[in-house]
């Protein structure tokens, strides 16, 4: 009995102990811990990515998805020449650049606001973060109502302000038809994307803003700097590394996003608000041309890769300084 008791509380013996010792080796333990992550990356990132490259250089369709015929860069040449692709590329760049511009300005302002204590700050923070937590479908529904051709509250406010409607600055009609027009449609996508992306960017920028010691601002004030000099010469240089990270995150999310355009405008009217990811989906999945869809998806990859590497290096360098 006394032996049993000892084995119960003492270190494990026999086979269990040998397995334990084997698992305890740094090499074994390391691979055991890393294993799931490595498997995940290979199976769900690496493999689909390579498959996309293979597809883009084949003649695969939904009906015949085999990779038996190698066509080189023919798919790329073909899709690039279409007007729809050119429009989608242009719109992708406009939407991304527009969203980034708005997000950067607003995130900097919001972080400046949120770094200070004020009444109701917690409630404000919660509401502020909400768009990030909402599913994209819900976002789209909210904004479709905002921008509806008949029931838009924005139109109503504009009419009340005498900007819209008979005698208004923007013409006799009582509706803007935000989503029924090329440029208003793009602007609508930009505003909605900004609304969704602002919380993430603000959190990134706010973290950087909070790490600036208050004494630095006080020193600048005593040194004679006004609000704008402090913003441009003190605050923004200190935020730079994190601003670059925010640009990168927001930019990659926006440029790869199709659901918002799909839900808001369906790329229309015509292809006027078409963006690359949605066009790739329409072409590759809906249209059945897997190869061309893959080519459209991969078109921006080399540019994004180079841009990301350069951005991360710049962020790293400015943090070093």
């Amino acid at each position: 009995m006394s032996t049993q008791q000892r084995s119960g509380v003492g270190p494990p013996r026999g086979r269990l102990r040998r397995i334990g010792a084997w698992l305890d080796q740094p090499k074994v333990l390391a691979w055991l811990m890393l294993g799931p992550a490595v498997l995940y990356v290979i199976a769900f990132v690496g493999f689909p990515f390579l498959l996309a490259i293979a597809l883009s250089m084949s003649d695969a369709t939904i009906g015949d998805p085999s990779l038996d015929t190698f066509v080189g860069l023919d798919n790329f040449k073909a899709v690039i020449q279409t007007d729809a692709f050119k429009l989608a590329l242009r719109n992708s760049l406009i939407v991304t650049a527009g969203t980034l511009g708005l997000v950067l300005v607003l995130a900097t302002l919001a972080s400046e606001l949120l770094v200070h204590a004020f009444r109701g700050k917690r409630l404000f923070q919660m509401i502020f973060i909400l768009p990030w937590a909402l599913p994209v479908s819900l976002t789209a529904i909210v904004w479709m109502w905002f921008l509806d051709s008949t029931f838009s509250p924005v139109d109503w406010v504009l009419v009340k302000l005498n900007l819209l409607g008979p005698g208004g600055v923007w013409g006799p009609f009582k509706h803007m038809y935000f989503l029924g027009n090329e440029w208003l449609g793009l602007a609508s996508v930009i505003v909605t994307d900004t609304w969704r992306m602002l919380p993430l960017a603000t959190i990134i920028v706010l973290a950087a803003r909070m790490s600036i010691p208050e004494e630095r601002f006080e020193q600048a004030r005593v040194d004679g700097a006004g609000v704008f000099r402090i913003l441009f010469r003190i605050t923004l240089p200190a935020l730079k590394p994190m601003l670059i990270v925010a640009i990168l995150f927001t930019g990659l999310l926006v440029i790869g996003e199709m659901s918002l355009v799909q839900l808001l405008t369906r790329g229309g009217p015509g292809h006027s608000t078409q963006v690359l990811p949605y066009w790739a989906y329409l072409k590759g999945i809906q249209g059945g041309s897997l190869a061309q869809g893959a080519a459209i998806t991969l078109f921006l990859f080399p540019f994004l890769l180079v841009a990301s590497v350069l951005a991360l290096r710049a962020a790293y360098r400015s943090q070093e300084a």
């Binding site: 005593v222 003190i234 400015s318």
Partner: protein
């Protein structure tokens, strides 16, 4: 000429009076230290002068003009923070030029002013470096150069030496005083370190719980403390404070405490039977710590310290009984209730 006048200055945070009715004057070219323990309100006082906080009431007058409603960027007050607060993304040159650029000083003056300030502080060869590549001492000099470059009316220093290593601190202290003697810029120097305050300043203002307790030269503070707080704060170790009766407390510097006097000492006011607790050897002196027997009216034990020259071993050991005495001429008397200093004539014989 008076450069800075504080008149009935108050700063309250809720019910806490961080600065409580402070009146103070700084004459032109004067180096004044604000000395107090942490939380005494000295930093708040300095922030009020720099304009970083608005006072609750009272007035701040610089060169005859009230600056209470003037924002810091329009006050001609230069400040050096404890952390030096150098701008990390700028070179030393841009750091030092920042006050000139911000105050829109004509560009043609920049080079000459930069030259003057940097040569005075010996940082001419650091101009193209970033602050992160500087040692603590170099950072302090750059911060001083940045404060100096714009010819301020008033310097405000917030413990500028406390971020430095102990080895270079005493040299930096000497350099700071030399810099002041060269420039004669009126200086307000905030510190909790009495060695800094006494060693650097022409006059020291002792502050505690928001109130000024005494303003005077280092000698005045040491020899004639105005109240019990100053007596117990200035000096290391501070004065022995020995209750005489219900109303009086006697203050006696440790160096005036005589241990086992061999001859008859005339006019004794203090005569204590003491048990030695321990003695300390400090190189230049001995300190004898002891417990006086049954002196205070409320039955508390009384701790006393005597300072003895290092030249001879005092021949004391722990647990030894001895007599410690003090002469009337060396004693400062304080009113027990108010803490205020009593004039010698009022003392009962």
């Amino acid at each position: 000429m008076t450069v800075l006048t504080l008149r009935a200055l108050e700063k309250h945070y809720g019910s806490i009076k961080a600065v409580d009715h402070v009146d103070l004057q700084l004459e032109s070219g004067e180096f004044m230290a604000i000395l107090g323990p942490s939380g005494s309100g000295k930093s708040t006082l300095m922030r009020l002068v720099a304009g970083l906080e608005p006072p609750t009431s009272g007035d701040i007058i610089v060169d005859g003009q009230s600056v209470v409603n003037v924002p810091p960027q329009h006050r001609n007050v230069a400040m050096v923070f404890q952390s030096f607060a150098l701008y990390p993304h700028m070179t030393v040159r841009d750091n030092i030029l920042f006050p000139l650029v911000s105050r829109k000083v004509p560009k043609q003056e920049h080079e000459a002013r930069l030259q003057k300030a940097t040569s005075m502080l010996g940082v001419e060869n650091l101009l193209d470096r970033r602050p992160s590549r500087l040692s603590g001492g170099q950072q302090q000099r750059v911060a001083l150069a940045r404060a100096l470059v714009r010819d301020p009316e008033l310097f405000v220093f917030d413990e500028p030496l406390s971020a430095l290593d102990a080895q270079i601190r005493s040299r930096a202290r000497a350099e700071l005083r030399e810099l002041h003697d060269q420039t004669r810029i009126t200086t307000l120097y905030v510190t909790h370190d009495q060695v800094e305050a006494m060693g650097l300043a022409d006059r020291v203002a002792v502050i505690n719980e928001g109130r000024l307790h005494q303003v005077g030269t280092p000698q005045e503070l040491y020899n004639d403390p105005a109240d019990l707080f100053v007596a117990g704060f200035i000096g290391n170790p501070p004065m022995n404070l020995i209750p005489l009766d219900e109303t009086m407390v006697a203050g006696l510097r440790p160096e005036h405490m005589l241990v086992d006097p061999e001859e008859d000492v005339p006019d004794l006011l203090i005569d204590l039977a003491v048990t030695i607790e321990h003695i300390e050897y400090l190189g230049s002196e001995w300190l004898a710590h002891g417990q006086a027997r049954a002196v205070t009216s409320n039955g508390q034990q009384l701790h006393v310290i005597a300072r003895l020259p290092a030249s001879a071993h005092p021949g004391l050991v722990s647990g030894q009984e001895c007599r410690m005495v003090g002469q009337r001429k060396d004693v400062c008397l304080f009113d027990r209730a108010s803490g205020k200093r009593q004039v010698q004539a009022e003392v009962p014989a």
